[in-house]
């Protein structure tokens, strides 16, 4: 079929039918000058909540839309990675580090009108720990022994062992009304917005909550518009159907915004790392030298550039710059093909070997896998790319450990501690690292914790426990009418209450 003819036909038909579309106008962008406190902010995103409860499998989308906006925690994780008081006004720790006495803010009301009490806090922590909890943070709270509520505004939590991350971990625990029902399809939080309507597959509307205890939101309404297609999302931004895109995942499309003065492209920090994860339990990847050789054989810089252009960061380990124990480890296993060949020979594979790479079927994994295949061919290693769905990945790789090597994006911050768990899917087992991770959690000072986790990070880099290909950029593209939006995507949260439209 002649492409030109098809194009001509299409253009001709389109012109003929232009009349049908005339008289309609999609541009709703009227600027009144100054900030409009009654504005509706239209947010475009690719991550729709699966349901509204983060302990029932709501996924990344529910964190983005509801965390800090509809639900609040005792403590807040700020855009710069620090932690501050939110529903708590302060806390004391006993000298043995095992008892936390947390004081609650007074005058806080849930959207249903009920006042916040210590019973709600107890209920909410227990909800994360419950047998049917699907919270990704459940394992962070294994040290919790008991929760008591001496009075309405005090919560006392006792731990079985010291947990220096306890307060930080509490910043992930949403405080629910303990009387609320149907939390997967409706909400009752204390945040600056209430959920208006949720049309699954399309939009989620947040409305400013009149009874909010703190500074009211600077806009009246925020509508999250969900897209499954990155091009459709970008088109919506170009036609002013949305004002801001929470996380741009289509690097090729960025030029249409950078070259347009109506849009601002923000390059912030993310905590999402792309990993080539080896199964460290099985040959040949139970051999440190093989893992180091592979890490040195792949030019991560070139990979990052081909996928993200000038965005993104090389980290050389699991720790992103926003974690307190970050250090630049990109030179531990530098890109060096002759070094890689030497290491392979030393490991007993002078002529390379063949392995299967289980690759999730969504971007950027297949592209990166093809690149890795080409790079490793240069040192004699043959890669068989096995494309699998996200679902298969969970069953085959994550649960059954039935893989040799895989690729995966890891989105959480402070997740280097998983290298201390030998049962985790990648099977890295270094008793020294396990001990350091345990000691770090039981540290008495953050300096001690930081020092220990730095040692962990250095050790896993030395062992090439995985190949940390790169750290994703966090790119927020917004209409220049907009200000006050967050630019860092820590754990995919997206606070909307300071967004202003002029």
């Amino acid at each position: 079929m002649n492409k030109k003819a098809v194009a001509l036909f299409g253009a001709a038909m389109a012109t003929v039918l232009a009349l049908a579309a005339c008289g309609t106008n999609a541009n709703g962008g009227s600027s009144t000058g100054g900030t409009d406190t009654n504005a509706t902010i239209n947010v475009g995103s690719l991550y729709e909540p699966q349901n509204l409860d983060d302990t029932a499998g709501g996924g990344q989308g529910v964190t983005e839309a509801l965390n800090g906006n509809v639900y609040e925690s005792l403590f807040k994780l700020n855009d710069d990675g620090s932690v501050s008081n939110l529903l708590a006004t302060g806390y004391q720790v006993s000298s043995d580090g095992l008892t936390y006495t947390i004081h609650l803010r007074t005058g806080v009301k849930f959207h249903s009108g009920k006042a916040l009490t210590s019973a709600d806090v107890k209920y909410s922590i227990q909800k994360v720990l419950a047998p049917n909890s699907q919270s990704a943070r459940k394992s962070s709270f294994t040290a919790v022994k008991d929760i008591t509520t001496p009075d309405d505004s005090t919560v006392v939590v006792t731990l079985t062992s010291r947990s220096i991350s306890f307060v930080y971990n509490l910043s992930y625990v949403w405080i629910f009304n303990d009387q609320a029902k149907n939390l997967t399809t409706s909400e009752d939080g204390t945040g600056p917005y209430q959920v208006g309507t949720w049309k699954r597959g399309s939009t989620l509307t947040l409305k400013r909550f009149a009874g909010y205890w703190g500074t009211p939101a600077t806009n009246a309404e925020v509508v999250f518009h969900y897209f499954t297609d990155a091009t459709a999302l970008n088109n919506a931004l170009l036609t002013n159907a949305v004002d801001v895109v929470t996380s741009e995942q289509s690097p090729d499309a960025l030029s249409q915004f950078t070259s347009n003065k109506n849009y601002k492209v923000n390059n912030g920090h993310s905590t999402t790392k792309l990993l080539l994860a080896f199964n460290d339990r099985v040959a040949p990847f139970n051999n440190t030298l093989v893992r180091k050789a592979i890490t040195s054989a792949i030019d991560n810089k070139k990979l990052l550039q081909s996928i993200w252009g000038n965005y993104g960061t090389l980290i050389g380990s699991m720790v992103p710059p926003t974690d307190p124990w970050y250090e630049d480890l990109t030179n531990v296993n530098p890109y060096n093909v002759s070094l890689a060949k030497q290491e392979l020979t030393q490991a007993g594979y002078p002529n390379g070997f063949t392995f299967t790479l289980d690759t999730p079927n969504y971007d950027p994994h297949p592209t990166a896998a093809t690149f890795i295949k080409a790079e490793l061919a240069k040192v004699g290693i043959t890669v068989n790319i096995n494309i699998i769905t996200a679902d298969q990945w969970y069953t085959k790789v994550y649960q059954n450990h039935d893989f040799v090597a895989t690729m995966q994006e890891h989105v959480n911050d402070r997740d280097v501690v998983w290298y201390g768990d030998p049962t985790f899917y990648w099977g890295y087992n270094n008793p020294q690292v396990t001990e350091w991770v345990k000691q770090a959690e039981q540290s008495t000072t953050t300096a001690q914790q930081t020092a220990l986790l730095k040692k962990v990070n250095e050790q896993i880099a030395k062992d090439a426990a995985s190949d940390w290909l790169y750290l994703y950029p966090q790119i927020v593209v917004a209409n220049t009418d907009l200000s006050g939006y967050p630019i860092n995507g820590l754990n995919s949260q997206f606070y909307v209450y300071d967004i202003k439209k002029s």
Partner: protein, 321 residues
């Protein structure tokens, strides 16, 4: 006629029951675990088991089937594993988009294809008749998503006369805004549908134009228009109506590509989402409702044909008189 209607209704019920069995079994044969879509990296084996228990996939298959059949019999399609929303209301909220989209596109396709197809046949020896036939042939080769993207680039991004996609959060509360969002998707589907319809209308018209009865009618003194109106249209519509039925049924679910290009929350995208999340109740619900719709459309097409063509109304050979 009553006997015919009863037979059709019985046929409908039996087909629906068979559909429930096949749907249920086929879905369970697919590899994959619905619990996975609820969990993220960091989940423990206990959490995975708890998730399976929560949604009931740890129970024996026959028990799951009977539960579902009981629900369907009471017109209750259950709740989504993932969002926990009732499947019935989710489908209704999608039909609000899909039904108008399908019907408008269908109507527009008829408005385009009937005159164009007739002209292509009637003037088949003129240059524009040939061009019309050729263009429709070409149209068959145009992929829907490509045409959709082309329309977006022209009307949304360049001319700025139409939105690039989406649907109002409040559905049809503001009919103007909702219609505005449907213009390009309707156009996309209608154009693609017209391409094939034009060809059917053209060949049906050609058959009629060559027919003996039309020549006879003319010989008996009817004008071309009146002969065409009394005999031609009626005969030409019979094959076209059966194609229309098939096209309508195809568009009902086949709109998924268009829904994706234009980010429309329709039935097709609900199905795709359900499949990617292994959300059995949603998949079963959507497919059951679509099966029902397809059967009803087929029935209506059949009925229309019988009304148009008395020969079809004649009792079947061997039937009791």
């Amino acid at each position: 006629m009553l006997h015919y209607l009863l037979r059709r209704v019985a046929f409908l019920i039996v087909t629906l029951f068979l559909a429930t069995v096949v749907l249920f079994l086929l879905l369970r044969l697919l590899p994959g675990d619905p619990a996975n879509s609820l969990l993220s990296v960091g989940a423990t084996p206990q959490q995975i088991a708890a998730a399976r228990h929560e949604i009931g996939t740890d129970r024996p298959l026959p028990q799951q089937f009977v539960t579902w059949l009981g629900q369907v019999a009471t017109l209750n399609l259950g709740h989504s594993f993932v969002s926990t929303l009732p499947v019935g209301s989710q489908i209704t909220s999608r039909l609000v988009v899909t039904v108008p989209l399908t019907l408008l596109a269908f109507a527009l396709a008829i408005v385009i294809s009937v005159p164009v197809g007739f002209l292509a046949a009637y003037k088949s020896r003129r240059w524009y008749g040939a061009v019309l036939g050729g263009v429709s042939q070409l149209g068959l080769a145009v992929p829907v998503f490509w045409l959709g993207m082309l329309l977006v680039v022209i009307f949304a991004l360049k001319l700025r006369v139409s939105p690039s996609g989406g649907f109002p959060a409040d559905d049809w509360a503001n009919p103007g805004a909702a219609l505005n969002d449907l213009v390009l998707p309707v156009l996309t589907i209608a154009l693609v549908m017209s391409a094939s319809l034009i060809r059917y209308v053209r060949s049906a018209t050609l058959d009629v134009l060559d027919s003996d009865y039309l020549r006879t009618a003319r010989a008996l003194g009817s004008s071309f228009v009146s002969a065409m109106w009394r005999h031609g249209v009626r005969n030409a519509s019979v094959p076209v109506v059966s194609i229309l039925g098939i096209e309508l049924a195809t568009t009902f679910l086949g709109a998924v590509v268009v829904e994706s290009v234009f980010s429309l929350p329709g039935l097709g995208s609900l199905l795709v989402q359900g499949i990617s999340e292994h959300d059995y109740p949603v998949i079963q619900g959507v497919l059951l409702v679509s099966t029902f719709a397809v059967l009803v459309i087929g029935f209506l097409a059949d009925l229309t044909q019988r009304l148009i063509d008395p020969r079809l109304r004649a009792p079947h050979p061997g039937a009791a008189r």
